[in-house]
Every structure is written in C-alpha cells, then in structure tokens.
Symmetry: D2
Subunit: 389 residues, 4 copies
C-alpha cells in the first residue's frame, strides 16, 4: 500500500474517498476495552451523532461490515422468505441489491431503467397502484446511483407511495450520498436507510449503517428471514447504553467520532453545497471537453460523482490505465453494462477546489495522452466557474 | 477514547489486545482503490499469508466483520434450515454460538459441560456413535474458550469423529487462540475454522476469517441457508486475483499485512512458546495468591488468558472496577453464569514479560485495595519463573 | 527503530521518556506554513502555555535544538568573553555544562561536590561572599541532576545569593525536572531557566527552552559573546506575534501544544505528586533489594529518576545489558565517574503505577539473571507502598 | 494545526514542503534510547545515507536544529573572530547569512547582486584575484536562492576560485536545493555544504546538516570562534559509531531514514528530473499568464521554486491572502526588498503532476479573484507541457 510514486495519489473513484488526516490519526489510537466506561462515552457519542448525519431522531445501528452488509441487514430484519420487493433499476448497484435480495430468498421485481436516470416516483406509484393485494412488502431505491451519478427524488418517492396508499416499506441506499448530498431520513419518511463509512463520511471502509423507522421496527417483529449478526433487536438493547452486542470495530468508531465532528462542525448545508459546486464544475469541464455526462436529467445530477461517456471507439478502462500510469490518479470504472464505455470521477468526501482542479487536469491530460478526441477546454471551464462562485 | 490518565492503559482483557505501534501506523495510511494494482498486491499477500497463520494450504476468506460474523458464515455456508448441529458447552462463547445457530434456523444439541473444562472428544464420539441416521451435520467446538481459559484438544476431536466414522463437518472457533496457541487447520482435519483479528493477530477488531476444507466447500454447494454477504463462493472468485466481491476493510488489511509479517518473522513456534510461558507465569501467580484457576485440567490450560475464581463473598466486577480506577487496567469480566465470580487476565497478543509483570502487579495490588483475601506472593512467584526460563 | 521484540519496549532511561500516543499522533500531522495564520494561533498558544509549565509570567523562548543548545543559549545571551561563572559540581551534567562554558570562552569555577548530593546553598553563599569584586557574573546550578537523582533547593540558592547581596545571575538547568518536579521560575527568582522537551514534557527530543527574567534580559544587552541562532532579541520580536525568526520545528510544536494541554489538564500539582510517589516506591524497592540509592540526602531525592549503586564487584553496564537482552528494557547508565558503578531508573514523564511495576520487576528479575546479590523483595516493597497510597 | 477546511491544504511555499505519509508515520513511532543498539543501527544508516544525498564520501554532521543553525555551524567551525568572508548578494537568504556572519564577529564583504541572478563565478574570481594578501578566508554562496529561484553554478564557482589560486574555503547553502536540484559536494570541491530537512528531503523542519571537506576539517583545528553545540569534532567521534554527543532529534531521524530510502529508491536523477520538469511547467504557466519570472537567466532557473513578479500596482501579499482564503493554498511571500512585489510557488519535495496542476489552477483562479491582470492560459500551457513529456 506504500505507493512509491512521488506526491499524493489522487483517489478519485467515487469511494472509498480521501480520508482526512485527523480521521486517520484517530483510528491509529490504541484499541480500548469495548465494555469499559471510556468506550461507553464514545459509543453514546457516535450513536447520537450519526443520527444528525442521517437527519433522523430514530435509531441508527452501526455494523462492523461493508455497505453490502447493511443492504442485507435492511432486508433480513424486515422481510420473510418469499416476500415480494419492488426495486428500481437505476444502475449497477440497484442490480446488485436485487441480486442480493434474491439470494436471501426474496422475490423481486424490477422497474426497468436505462441506467441514465434515477428512480422514477411515478413509475413506482403506478406499480404500487396495481398491487391490489398488497403483495409488495418493500420498495427499494438507490438515492445516489454510484454507477451512474443520478440522484433519485426520495421525497417524491415517499409522496408517490403515500398517494396510492400502499403500505410497503420504503428502503433507500445512501451509500454514496450520505454526508455529501442532502438526505432526510425522517422528513422523507424512509423506513430503512442504508449507509456506509467510506464515502461522504470520509472514513476507510468497514462500517455500515441502518437508520430505522418505527414502522420498520414493527415489521422486524414479524419478519422471519433468519438473522443474527444483522439483528436490530440485538443491537438496540446494548446501544441504549453506548455498547454493542459483539465486538465493534473500535478503531473505525474513533474515526467516525472525528468525522461526525468535522461534518457537523462544517455544517451539513455547507458540506452539501460544496459537493454540488464541485459537481457543477466537473460537468462544465465535461461539457467543454465535448464529452457527455451519463446522467440525462439535470435535476438528478450528483454532487458525489460524475459518470462520463467515452467517445465511441475508445475504451474507458484503457483511458483510466493511462491516467493511473501517467498521473497517479485512480478513476472509477464503468460498472456492469457500462463497463468500458463510461468512467467515473469521484468528487466527494474530504475534498476541495484545488484537489478537484488537479483531478480535472489529470483527466484532461489523460485524454490527450490516450488520444481520446476532446476539446482541451474543460479545466478552463471549471476554473471559470470556481473562480466566480 | 483519549484516556486522560497518565501512562499507557493496560488492556488486559482477553481481547481486543494491545495493538503494536507498527500495526496502528499501518492502518493509518491513506485508503487506496480496492480495484487497483497496489491493492491487488496487498490482497494477494494477505490472502496467502493468513493461510500460514492457520497452518493451512486451503482457502481462507477474510470478512470485513467481527468474529461473530465468521461464526455465522461458517454455518450459513455449509448447512440447511433444520440441520442438526452438535455443540459442546465449554463456556459462554460456545453458548453464544449455539444461540446464533438457533437464530439461523438450525437445530442444536449441546453436550453439557461445567465451564471448567474444554470439549471432551470421548463425549463427542459417544454422541456421534449414537447418531445412526447421521442426522448431525456438524460438530462445533471452541478451541480456546475465552470465557474459561480451557483449550480443547482439536486433534483428538478429529480422531474421535473419525473413529466412529461419522461424516459430520468439524467446525472450530479459534478466535482467541489464533496466533497465540498452536492450531493446525490442515493437520487436524478441521472443515471450517473461525478466527478474528483482535486477539493473537494483534489487530483492532473488524476482520474475521473462515478457513475452509474441501469437504466444507463441497457441502456449501448443497447448503440452502440463505446467504449473500457471507457467501464463500462470491469471495473465492475475486480472491483468486487478490480482490474482494465488495469493498473490503482496506485499512485493517494494511494492518493484517504487517501483523502477519511480524508473527511469521518472530516464528509461530516462538509466538506459541511465549504465550505458554506467560500462561504458566500467570498461573503460578494465581496459585501463590491462594486463588483458584477456573480451568480444572492442567492439560487444557490456555496461553491466551487465565480465568481466576474469586473467593466466596467477593464480587469479581467490584474488584475489576477497583483495578480500573486505581491502576488503569482493564481485566476481563466473568461472562454468563460466571458473572461476578470470575475475572480474566488476558496475556495474549503483542505482549512481553514486563507488561505481564505490570499486569500481575496490578492484580495483586488490586486484591489488596479491594480487600480480597490473598497471599501477596503472586508477583514474586511469577518473577521466579520468568527469571529462570 | 522498529523493535522486532514482542510488546512494548520499556524506555526507562531518565529521558527521553515514553511519549504519549496523543503527542506522537500530533507530531504526525502535516507540516504547515510557519508564516501563516494557523501557525500564528499555534505559536501563541505554545508560547503562552509553556510559561505555565515554568511557573513564570516572563518570556520563554523555544529553540529547535536539544537541551545542550539551551545551555549554550543561557550563557551566550548574558555573558561576555572571560566572564567568571560559578558552577556547582553536582554530577555529570553540571560538569558538561562547565565544559561547555569553557569552550565558549568563559572562565568557570567549580564548587566541588561528591556527585551524591545536590548544590549546597551555603557553599554558594560562602563563595559569593568572598567575591568582593563581584567578578562572578553568574551562578549555574542543576535543579535535578540527571546523573545522580539529587534535587537542588533552588529557592534556598536564591535566598543564599540574596543574603550575601551578590548581583550574579542565577541560571538553573531543569532539563530532567521540568514537568516532573515542582519548579518555580518566578517565585524562586531565577534569571535563566534551561529546559528540554524529552523528559517531563513527554515529547521526543528536539526542542529546548530558556525562561528569562528581566534582569537576564537587561544583561543580554551588554553581553558580547557572539550569538545569532540563540539570540533572545531575535526571538522575542516575532514571538510577540506567535512567530519565530527562523523556521521552527513545526511538528514538535504540535506535540508541545498537546503535551502542555495534558500536563495542565492533569494539574501540575498532581503531576508532581505522581512523580514523587513513583520515586518513593522505587526507593523502597531499592532498599528492599539491599542496594543503595546514590543520593545521600533524603531531602534531595528525585521524583524523576533513581540512581542505584551496584554492589562492589558487579558491573552496572553488564547488568543493564542483561536487562535489555532478557526483558527489553532500557535503563540509564552511570555517567562520567559513575560509569559502571551506577545504573539509573527513569520514572518520569507519561508513566503510571503498572508501568513502574513492570520496570521494577524487570530490575529485580535482571538482578537475579545477572547474579547480582540482592534480596528479591523490592517489587513487594513497592507494591506495598503503591497499594496503600 | 488542524485546519477545519475540507480537503488537503496546498502547502506550496518553497519549504517546508509536503511531508510524505510514510515519513510522518515514521516520526510518529515511539522514541528510543539514543545510546542503545537499535539507535546505533539507525544512526549508522542515516549518517551513511545522507552522504549519498550530498553526493559525498566525506562526513556529514546532522544537527538537531533549523537550517539557520547549520549556517552558523559552517562559520564557527572554520573561522576566527575578524576573519573576512566574501559573500554574494544573490537575494534575501544570502543577506541573512551575511548578517549572521557579522553577528558572530566576522567581517563580511558582499559582491552586489540584483536579486534576479545567482552568484557570478567571474565576479568572485575577480575579487579573489584582487586579494593579494589572502585576507578572504571563505567564499559563501547560496546554491538555490529560495527568495528568487535562481541557481548558482557551483562547479563554476569552484573552478573560478581554483583559477585564481585562492585558498579560501568554499561554503554553499543548499537548503532549498538538496534532494531537488543536482548538487555534488565532492565533485564540485565544496568545503562546507549547508542543508536542511524541510525542503527536498521531505521532512518537517528541525534537522540541518554540514557536509565537510578535509580542508574544512583541517581549518577547524585552528579556528577560534567559540563553539560547543555546533562543534564538528564533538560530533565526529560519536558519529563514527552511529551515536551523537548530545540527545539527537530521534524521531526526526526516523523520518530521515525513510526519506533517504525514498529518494534513493526513486533515484536522485529521476528526482532532479521531476523537479526540473515541474519548474518548466510552472514557468510556462507564468509566461502564458503574461507575468514575469523573477530569475532573469534561463540557465539559472530553479526546479524547487518559481518567483513571480506581480504586475505594477498589485500587492503580492494581498494576492496570496486571496489564494489562502479562497483556495486553501499557502504561497511564498516576497522577502526583504521583494516584499509585496513578488510571490513564490514552491514545487519541490514530495510532489507530482496533479498536485502541481492544483497549485497552478489555484494561482490562476486567485489572479482572477484578486483582479490581477493576466491571460487565463497558464494552466493550459502547463498541461500542454505535462501531457507531452
């Protein structure tokens, strides 16, 4: 892991993101007794603080696990074998979540999407409307599709479900939006929100989250999918006193403590505005290069990442390799059906204007080196934007 | 987590253990792209090195999860709903694993134990002998019972199973023995070995392991318990190239890389001998204090920890609090039915003679302060032993 | 520097001392612009905070240099070539300071001492009394002689000087007492106090200090020893705004900032009491071993370190080597004329009861291994003391 | 020191430079006994390795001090009060060194310069030629003038001195060139080379160096300026065994060990080429902005930094403040007579193409925000260069 190249690596995949020095130093402190009073204070602090990040006053459980585990947790706590789940095909991660649900013994139904738009509330409402028998037990939506850079209007999804009076639970994946794009678990009436540590939260990977509504909690009582590690009930008891039912990832919790302090210290509004600003600067660069942003709906543009369509006949992965070899920057690959045709620029987490400019310069120089047709005006366009706002 | 007390806290619970400075500094390095070439080299190194720790040439999967997750993984990968599992009641952790199996929909049967001895191969053989219909699909044994400090003779358990010709899988929990007490996955014919990062491996909590025999792998093909996060098959494909199916706990893997290098650099034999030596020194102290070691069979004494029985009428938790308040040392509590009557001294991980002497002095001074009857000769006895060997 | 031995090295020389994890993590933060606003705030904080440690309201300058440099600074700022300095032969460091003064072109006079007692105020008074022509320009005394573990009564030295009405400056070396043993620059009327970072201040070596009285400052105006790097006047101007005349040791200043916060947070009185307690425990151990403490005057016993006289016919350095090889502990050597006949136990800095007990156990076991005659009762005696107070 | 702004601060002053994570983690390791065997190995390694950086086989002494201390050391070890030193007015640091020499009691003579060119060998030869009585004892030249970004031809200075057959010592300041710009202590026949840790060596400030020729060593025997802390003779004895005469800056030496390994691992030639490349890219940006590089002689352009002349009527410090406030980047101020009229871009140390592009984008956006007339084509010009080479 010790890159021998000079200078800092530019980690511009859409997560894991660049971890702040303060967070790294925090996770570097000696491990403590997870049953002792010092831990209790830490536990209470992070369990409380993380709620502010989800904009909720309801419980948030913290798993020593990747985000994938929190996907699984959301489902096994609330559903029973054979339950039908309505999902929306917003992109690769929606597809993975669907696949995971099926492996767990759930039935799934996909509202087809083109991977260039986020989940559509009207389509969801229409499908629920048709579900006279209320066979659909949950609606699963990805807030910010990490594979496409499209952001779903979660409040509108909630309103759509309510409009048709359907009792399904609403579950939302915020892995790449939490701490980067405005997200309101309570106000938007989400039942289970899934989050992870390694994106907007600015931590290394290894922690993930479920924010849980009262309705979801009630559903968990009758849900019969087998569960133990992920079981909310096991968590909530000890959590009330700052503890965990099994050994937590102590050192990552140190980091979470600092990351929460940093995010709330900056102010979530300012954090969201910064991400939006960097998203806009990036899109101006993409446009000036003459390239196409994957996301087709400007109302759905992401502040976390921008997926860029490669010109016909040019392989995105080869381009990414050129950038890595020559400019020591990691860009995100096109995933699933987008493999080779799209690359992704992560601009989330602990990030600022000059890091973004280094990033965009790396893309622009990489396009030149890789012989990808483009106008060399993207960096200029981004600077014009950033020096005015 | 920043203790304001002067000097180093003595973390003498039986795990998490004291993390070496080199490991802490490793996990403090910037997170890298888990899909890139630098990660690939890391992944290949740790996936190979961890096998040497388990003394196996078969695959070991690494989960971004606590040890509890690896317990669950062992079961869901190999068993189907309603399968019968034979477990041995060696102590609190055996009981927890049993409870977990039941939550997953398995049937369990416990061979009763007194929590002062490890699993008994003969009792296991006897029970398997009686299982004419081969209803028992797995035998689950804890190698080093962290709640009692008794070590089970795993090789003898294997021999016992073979003797009666029973096809059940053998699953072993080595969470508090791995990297501390000799353990041989291959030689002992274990099918699934469960391990964790935060004990003998000298890491913070957050990683756990399954070492997997060919027989276990074959069993996983027909096993129908739902699984996704824990699914071996999903892991083994990407692992072959140094990668993981979902975002791994990158920074803990940095630490694992260093910890493996340290353990193999010292030599596993020397590591085991050091732990055995510290166990013996501790037991000499306990005997000299006039107190009783919980483990009744000298052949089962643990090199990882020593559980000590409190004299009648004295509460172990009050004693531990005195030690914490006056000497800034965390000792392990009695767990489950041992609560209040036993305390545990962890002497595993990154540890040496003088740390042990500080530990034992803290216990001895704590006994005096707490008014627990004892002879003040334990530290002396331990020093006599340590200054001769 | 990466010790391959398991566990923590016991660094029980009388400095450098064990650096707290929080301080190490602080010096590990990225270097910043030493001319910018973030630095200014840091500079102001440490320049103010360090005064509290010296118990002074007068200026303290901070050098990017070892303590030896601060010795030099005290002399070159206040004296002129050929000036006579009265020094007291309390031990090795007093002798080194004298040698340094001579190399700088000063005349020195030594009041002979036996290296088993600190500076004697009466002897100083007597010599000053005899100095009718006031040729003596400065009196230099070591507060805590790191080579012997004897503490000089600085208030009494001040009183002695005043009693005879001599105008000489009083300069005091507190390198191994600052932050460990009560020291009052203002109340005791010291003109220049010399300090270093790597002892009671709990930092790595690399910073040193001069606390400066108004009288010393006035003297500096006429002093003609050449100076530039050490020149107070160059320092005091920029210091007033939180800055330094040349590049300061930025990262060590981060550590100083944290160390000051820790010391003042614990309270200096409690810090001093802890050191005194550990000194007493150590001396009880020495007595119980049947060995002799070097310092002959109980009123001068040091809370920072204890020098122990080896029994006749046993080499202290061979003993220290045995302790290092077998118990991974560094003890202090006998210095100068005490070489081979004395070893020193450092018990200062970031230290606590159990670290002390590990230390004393290491000494006791080392005595046994090295075949040094002793009663194996020292650890017991120290525990008796520590479990009562 | 904990910047609350998001992302990494851009520290683009010409030193201290961005410290690599590996170096920071190294200085974060526990302090060890500076008299023990582990230190001895470290000491031998760094004292040997640092010679390779100076391209010398002669001794290099390492001071726990800033570079200013190493200036002083060079003079006090070789000269006597009243000796005449010939210096060349290349800029602010040459002037400071001259002032320091005078404070030490030396006579100095300045060959006037315009602060836009480096030292001129012919002018030096001419002055030495005129010194029939050989009153000039040393010639002091700054290799890379940190205030101007002009590099002196040291080999040509040596040749000039030899041509006129003058016996003066040649002393060279390489504080901002060492490890960045090719420098050959032995091949160029330099008598004392002065270096510091916080620039091309990629360390925090706090260490400085004297590389010493045999001729300088011989001169030190007769030199009568008072010295103790800086005394080479005191250093060289213990250095031969890996030790130091007084407590060294142990933790910075850990960092030096890693930094040397990194520089030699990359290869000095590649390190120098990288700096030259970044210098050229920066100058192309400056030219494209329509601004002027301070250094007038293209043969003297620096790979470490570029000083840029502000357009008439615009204050450089106000501009720097705009850049700091809006883009979280520290640029170097104009120093001495250049104050307010020049700003400096540091591009040395642990640095790469994308960090440079972030830097140049910050300057270009800052020029726009500050209303400084320029053509917004500098970043473009730099990218054109960097994407072709």
């Amino acid at each position: 892991m010790s890159n021998t190249a000079p200078g800092r690596h530019f980690l511009q995949i859409p997560g894991p993101t660049n971890v702040p020095d303060r967070v790294l130093r925090a996770i570097d402190m000696p491990t403590i007794d997870h049953r002792g009073p010092t831990f209790k204070a830490l536990g209470e602090r992070v369990l409380s603080g993380i709620r502010a990040i989800f904009q909720t006053e309801q419980p948030v459980v913290i798993y020593p696990a990747s985000g994938t585990g929190a996907w699984e947790a959301a489902l096994v706590n609330t559903l029973s074998p054979g339950d039908l789940v309505l999902m929306y095909e917003s992109g690769h991660f929606a597809s993975l979540w669907k696949k995971l649900a099926e492996k767990l013994g759930l039935k799934t139904e996909f509202i087809a999407g083109d991977w260039r738009r986020a989940a559509d509330p009207d389509a969801i409402a229409e499908r629920l409307q048709a579900d006279g028998e209320k066979r659909i037990k949950a609606v699963c939506v990805v807030h910010n599709e990490t594979s496409t850079g499209c952001v779903a209007p979660i409040g509108a999804v909630r309103a759509a479900i309510d409009r048709v009076g359907h009792p399904a639970l609403l579950m939302v994946d915020t892995i790449s939006s939490l701490g980067s794009i405005d997200y309101r678990h309570d106000e938007w009436g989400v039942d289970v929100t899934v989050g992870g540590s390694q994106k907007g939260l600015m931590l290394p990977p290894g922690l993930s989250f479920n924010a849980i509504s009262q309705k979801a909690l009630a559903a968990s009582e009758g849900a019969t999918l087998p569960r133990s590690y992920w079981d909310w009930q096991e968590m909530l008891g000890p959590n009330a006193k700052g503890f965990f039912p099994y050994t937590p990832s102590t050192n990552l919790l140190y980091g979470l403590d600092v990351a929460i302090e940093m995010l709330l210290g900056q102010g979530l509004d300012r954090v969201f505005a910064r991400h939006a600003r960097h998203g806009e600067a990036t899109r101006r660069a993409v446009g000036a290069w003459g390239l196409e942003v994957l996301c087709l709906d400007p109302g759905q543009y992401s502040g976390s990442l921008t997926a860029v369509v490669m010109p016909e006949g040019h392989d995105a992965d080869r381009f990414r390799q050129v950038v890595l070899d020559h400019y020591d920057m990691s860009l995100g690959a096109g995933l699933g059906r987008l493999s080779g045709t799209v690359f992704r620029i992560g601009h989330l987490g602990d990030f600022n204007d000059l890091m973004l400019m280094g990033t965009l310069a790396g893309v622009e120089m990489g396009l030149a080196r890789a012989g990808v047709p483009h106008r060399p005006e993207g960096v200029r366009a981004a600077m014009d934007f950033l020096s005015e706002r």
